[in-house]
Symmetry: C2
């Protein structure tokens, strides 16, 4: 890839910082900020809820541009669970999305896996895989509660 | 976790070996083999297509036992794309699932992200996130073709 990319993501940022930047960019509909969290790698991939697999920055950018053309995305990460090595951070979480309905705002949940690798530019996202969760106040998670409080 | 786990997965196995073992176990409906590919970590997670997030070995095992009670799973990985560091392997792929219908066998696609970490027991799966793809002969992937042939 020879395209210049915005480098607003800091070299010192942690995976949590990069994740926060990703969701802020979604909430703000900021395509440049959103793309700056991704690694410069042909194999990066994104799956939107119910959508196909998008591989590479061009396909991922086009998808988010189409989404932002309809407005920003009010998605906030909750119940983040983490696995980490020195060069890799794997986060899985529930995204709370507030949806306006005739009966007032409702909560929809999206389940996401976000993977970050440590690159020469610092931590960067390499995979965002999201799938439809459910409606209602409780996120659709089954299993043990987190062993540590955050 | 103090439960003894089967250790049929080899200490020398690569992420590709572990992935092959995972899909063979699905195809064979072999719960012990399937669980042996997972890391011994409370934060491991699995999302089946359209399902909730399952966290921890007990919830993951229960889900696959319920699936295998209805038969094995004829899922075969295709179009595997890889990102790897020394301690982490991220694979995203399309699972080809052959579904019997009144009009004969049809192909359904599931999109999956599989993440493996290098543990003291060797490479182990930590996340399997699968979501509904589409029907038809072509897997639902958008973007650049692989830069290397496998």
């Amino acid at each position: 890839m020879s395209h210049p990319k915005p480098r607003t993501a800091s070299l010192m940022a942690s995976p949590d910082d990069i994740e926060a930047q990703f969701y802020e960019a979604l909430q703000q509909g900021d395509i440049e900020r959103l793309m700056s969290v991704w690694a410069d790698d042909d194999e990066i991939a994104c799956v939107h809820p119910g959508g196909p697999r998008l591989v590479g920055a061009a396909a991922i950018r086009a998808s988010f541009e189409a989404i932002f053309a309809n407005g920003n995305v009010p998605a906030a990460p909750e119940q983040v669970r983490r696995l980490q090595t020195v060069s890799c951070a794997v986060h899985h979480l529930a995204e709370r999305v507030t949806v306006p309905t005739a009966e007032g705002p409702q909560t929809a949940w999206v389940l996401a896996t976000n993977v970050y690798l440590r690159t020469e530019q610092g931590w960067r996202m390499v995979v965002h895989h999201a799938s439809p969760g459910s409606l209602g106040e409780q996120p659709p998670t089954v299993g043990d509660a987190p062993s540590t409080l955050h």
